[in-house]
Amino acid sequence: MMRFVEEGTRVLVQGITGSQGRFHTRLMLEYGTRIVAGVTPGRGGEEVEGVPVFDTVFEALEESEPEASIIFVPAPQAREAALEAIEGGLDPIVIVTEGMPIRDSIEVIARARRRGITIIGPNTPGIIRVGACKLGIMPSGVFRKGRVGIASRSGTLTYEVASQISRIGLGESTCIGLGGDPVVGLDFIDVLRWFQEDEETEAAVIIGEIGGDAEERAAEFISGGGFTKPALAYIAGRTAVPGRRMGHAGAIVEGGVGTAEGKMEALRSAGVYVGELPRDIARALKEMMG
């Protein structure tokens, strides 16, 4: 089973002195996340929001014993930061960084998997255990402790759906952003498997978008009995197709799947409720769960 974060998990912030790292360290601390150390090479000895900054992950490990890491390092240096975290055995490693080259993501994820470490992202809003802790950049205000688990390929669309689920009073248990890049560490199946076991989660929401086949495989997993709680989905991208076309070879690999209609159809035939608009999710949940 994947190791996720929980209340009290000791967290390291890599890239803590940058403007995003600094800003979100403060917000994560305010949310109750236990941030014990930060790393920025060349800035060791400083403090950010009272958190000690080290030059290397190893020093941070020795002094502050973090268990998980969140990375805000700019894309050109993200690979090195992630490899350092993997070598230090941090788990999970949340890579918020946007614009990481695919070659780097492939290498980082492969090395993490070899060591059994979970990578969330890159290009992810992170993970929030509502009411307990957050390793990410999601605005805490949209969440409210509750019973619905959310797994999403889109950051901002997640906030949209979550705020509506909060407004009707159901609230969320855990929300995980898989990341918006073509190659990411987690897919829907990994999260659904975890939601299935998680007692706090009574229903799951899948937020997908065009491209790839992660939604189709999630549908297969659900119809195969891997996830038995109520499942709902919203898929973005029916109108326009701004997704980059990867050319012939890309289309071959994906076997002709990836359209919004195809994904919606696959999920519907697996018994998943699929909304037409983002707001339909909260409405349907209310009917199902009161």
Partner: protein, 382 residues
């Protein structure tokens, strides 16, 4: 970044992948000179960043330099699939015995590169994969092992080659992989790879580089950065220069969002209420006020756009910075168009305060904002 054929072939050459003798020409005279240098029959190929050039008449065979010059005159300056041909590639005509396909791309599901090969090259490989999937070999590459010579030989044997040809083919396959990885290709293809007697030549070449990796290939961007822009509209080029993800559509409601998923959902919602999205514009994460301002100005100057709809959910993006960008864009003047704004999330209160001071009303939800924008686009007031 998608390289043109001749650009991709220049990169191929540096990785010692065999390519036909030839050179690029920007005029009929240059084409004649290149053909004279080659001697014998040549092929003249339009250099535009689209597929299916042959079918569209962008490839002409010529028996001698004079004919090559005529072919270049026919192609240069003419439109091909909506793009103006500014260069042609003049190459020796190969005596092709057989056409193969080799390719390398990223497989999201395996989270790795995948090597592709087929004995049926030269045609639409996507179509081959649909019709006869067994004719396309896929080899998922272990990222920590790479694609070694013995993997390449396995691929060559699966294509039915043995002996010296198998050795030559596997060497090209291995070089294609090495080039692909080193150049951060999200897709590279040789289609067709021509078997000519006892050797192979890359008759065509495709190389698409991961835009996120361009910081590692500054020389390439400098040398070839202009080629792919030819396929874009003026506004799309401008947006590209500003670092915005922008796609033009044919409707009249300009849409700005942050994050691809939310922006697509906004388009879907506008469409649901009967409106017609005029574009897709994703600000990306953490947009500073200047980027917001530039995005709005871009849509204000687009004559087809009648209403602008901003749907922003702040995470790493801060609503106050978005609001400042909106106010600055309006202050700058230019055409006046209704702007419908929905902002929510990080620093929301400050953002709403800034917009309220500027006299802008905020929609309470994405659906409300979409409905309002649709009504405004029809000339009414919601």
């Amino acid at each position: 970044m998608r390289l043109l054929e001749y650009e991709a072939k220049e990169v191929f050459r540096t990785f010692q992948i065999p390519i036909p003798r030839g050179d690029v020409a920007e005029s009929a005279e240059e084409a004649v000179r290149v053909a004279e240098g080659i001697g014998g029959p040549v092929v003249v190929k339009a250099q535009v960043p689209v597929g299916g050039r042959g079918k569209a008449g962008g490839v002409i065979f010529a028996e001698n330099p004079e004919e090559a010059g005529e072919a270049a005159s026919t192609l240069l300056g003419r439109g091909l699939r909506g793009l103006r041909v500014r260069r042609v590639l003049v190459e020796e005509r190969l005596r092709i015995d057989r056409e193969l396909y080799l390719g390398l791309t990223v497989d999201r599901r395996c989270r790795s590169y995948v090597f592709l090969a087929s004995g049926e090259g030269g045609v639409d490989i996507e179509e081959v994969a649909q019709r006869a999937p067994e004719k396309v070999i896929k080899y998922a590459i272990d990222p920590l092992e790479g694609f070694r010579r013995h993997h390449a030989r396995w691929v060559a044997k699966r294509l039915g080659f043995s002996g010296g040809l198998m050795m030559k083919l596997s060497e090209i396959a291995k070089r294609l992989y090495e080039m692909g990885v080193e150049m951060d290709a999200e897709l590279t293809e040789i289609n067709p790879l021509a078997q000519v007697g006892e050797g192979f030549v890359a008759a065509d070449a495709r190389l698409n580089i991961d835009d996120n990796a361009l910081f590692r290939h500054g020389d390439l961007v400098q040398r070839y950065g202009g080629g792919e822009l030819e396929g874009l509209s003026e506004a799309e080029r401008e947006a590209r220069g500003l670092g915005l993800t922008y796609v033009e559509l044919d409707g009249d409601i300009g849409i700005i969002g942050n994050g691809a998923g939310l922006t697509m959902a906004t388009l879907d919602t506008v469409n649901f209420y009967g409106g017609r999205p005029g574009n897709f514009l994703d600000l990306g994460g953490g947009a500073p006020p200047e980027r917001v301002e530039q995005a709005i100005t871009l849509l204000l100057n687009n004559r087809r756009i009648r209403v602008i709809l901003l749907n922003i959910l702040g995470g790493i993006t801060r609503c106050d910075e978005i609001a400042r960008g909106i106010v600055n864009a309006r202050r700058k003047g230019g055409p006046i168009k209704p702007i419908v704004v929905r902002i929510s999330g990080t620093n929301e209160e400050e953002g709403i305060r800034i917009l309220a001071e500027a006299g802008l009303e905020i929609s309470g939800s994405m659906e409300e904002a979409a409905e309002r924008a649709v009504a405004l686009s029809r000339g009414g007031w919601a």
